[in-house]
């Protein structure tokens, strides 16, 4: 065995046998932001056989404080995150087959992407994609690892089809208007802590050490000095529409997807959430102002300047993104504000 992985194979739970397994596996990372950069780097250094990383966004200046694969030059060039990640990861380990996909991870795309995949690591910034990953995971029996953070707070959960409850068992209602990194801020150590949890779980899954899998929902607050593990075994719901007996995979179905439309001649995209919502516009407005955005509003809508775009959010959750004709960019901006 390669000297390169000697310290990892010395670790008894991995060993030479584990390393051989890692070498044969294909990991799919959805999102190449803060979590995606870190997760991808750990997996690549660990010597994973193949890594596919998917992202719809490009590098911006506000990413550099925590998104470890990117540099000032990438901001200047407005490079797609997935393309930069691919280049950096190849430079880190030429033995790993790296594939970058610049796309919006819709259910259709996910179905194509997961075909030879052994594990999915969630590094997205929204629940719509996470619930689609959750359904795909159950449909194709592929483990996935949820991770998310905001402020100094973060969480992680390992989902193994047939063994653990799924995310839909735990979240009966999909959170709307959650805090995002654009409204609640984020510190890099919270990102790193989530990455540590996700990649430790990933290594266990890749070497097939099923007994070592974490069976709790972990959440922590690094500033508030809190670390909690919630036992979730009894949350497994036989009636769950994603993993239960009469499963329908609701989050792969068209009526449950966010709708985007280019408004002709207006350089504007309309984004419509799958279900009508009741947003608290006053609260959103306060959060956005605290984050330094310029806001105008009335009881029906708020308008947020996010140069070069302007986003207008209505209280039913519908939004107009002015200054773009790009559907996936519009969705990216929407998710950054509303989660």
């Amino acid at each position: 065995m390669n000297e390169r992985y000697s310290r990892q194979t010395l670790f008894p739970a991995i060993g030479e046998e584990g390393q051989k397994k890692i070498r044969k596996k294909h990991v799919l990372i959805i999102g190449a932001g803060a979590l995606g950069s870190g997760n991808a780097e750990v997996m690549t250094r660990a010597g994973i056989g193949k890594l596919t990383i998917v992202d719809r966004d490009y590098v911006e200046e506000s990413n550099l404080q925590r998104q470890q694969l990117y540099t000032e030059e990438d901001v200047f060039e407005k490079m797609p995150k997935a393309a930069v990640a691919e280049k950096r990861l190849r430079a880190i380990n030429s033995e790993t087959d790296i594939a970058a996909v610049i796309t919006d991870a819709t259910p259709d795309r996910l179905e194509e992407l997961v075909q030879t995949v052994d594990l999915i690591i969630d590094s997205t910034d929204n629940f719509e994609t996470r619930m689609a990953i959750n359904d795909i995971s159950q449909k194709y029996q592929i483990p996935w690892i949820y991770g998310a953070c905001v402020g100094s707070y973060g969480m992680s959960l390992t989902i193994i089809p047939g063994m653990t409850p799924c995310l839909h068992c735990l979240l009966k209602k999909i959170p709307i208007q959650g805090m995002t990194c654009d409204t609640g801020g984020i510190i890099a150590p919270a990102v790193q802590m989530v990455i540590a949890h996700q990649t430790a779980e990933a290594l266990k899954i890749l070497v097939e050490d099923w007994d070592a899998i974490r069976t709790t929902f972990t959440s922590f607050d690094l500033w508030g000095n809190q670390y909690t593990n919630i036992k979730i075994a009894k949350a497994k719901d036989d009636g769950c529409l994603s993993c239960g007996e009469a499963r329908t995979y609701p989050f792969l179905q068209n009526e449950n997807l966010m709708k985007t439309t280019v408004l002709c001649g207006r350089d504007t995209v309309q984004v419509r959430p799958p279900a009508k919502q009741q947003l608290d516009l006053a609260r959103l407005s306060e959060q956005m102002q605290a984050s330094g955005y310029q806001i105008k509003g009335n009881p029906y809508l708020i308008s947020v300047e996010m140069k070069p775009q302007r986003i207008v959010v209505f209280n039913d959750g519908r939004a107009l993104i002015h200054g773009t004709k790009d559907l996936s960019q519009a969705k990216a901006i929407y998710n950054r504000l509303l989660g």
């Binding site: 999102g31 932001g33 803060a34 979590l35 995606g36 969630d122 590094s123 997205t124 910034d125 929204n126 629940f127 996470r130 991770g147 998310a148 953070c149 905001v150 402020g151 707070y153 973060g154 969480m155 735990l170 979240l171 009966k172 209602k173 999909i174 959170p175 709307i176 208007q177 959650g178 805090m179 995002t180 990194c181 609640g184 984020i186 989530v194 929902f217 959440s219 607050d221 508030g224 809190q226 909690t228 593990n229 919630i230 036992k231 979730i232 009894k234 949350a235 608290d280 609260r283 998710n335 989660g339």
Partner: protein, 77 residues
């Protein structure tokens, strides 16, 4: 007596990290109504709850001495 624990931004909304309150005999759903009406917690519907560090459903009944944690799922990444 019961102890309530608020995580992440719920701590700011409630104005405290913990709260001592007697809610034994009530369900988690009833407690959610109480904390949203009396303690200013918003979007409580999608918040996960745990009783004594074990995942709790809306119809679970709170016992004397139980500690109930409110854990909001977040989406940043």
């Amino acid at each position: 007596m019961n102890k309530l624990l608020f995580f992440a931004h719920l701590k700011d909304e409630a104005g405290a990290e913990t709260l001592s309150i007697d809610v034994s005999g009530k369900t988690i759903a009833e407690l959610k109504t109480i904390v949203s009406e009396q303690h200013g917690l918003t979007k409580i519907d999608s918040v996960m709850t745990a009783i004594n560090e074990e995942f709790a459903e809306d119809d679970d009944i709170i016992q004397q001495g139980d500690t109930i944690a409110f854990i909001p799922p977040v989406s940043g990444g």
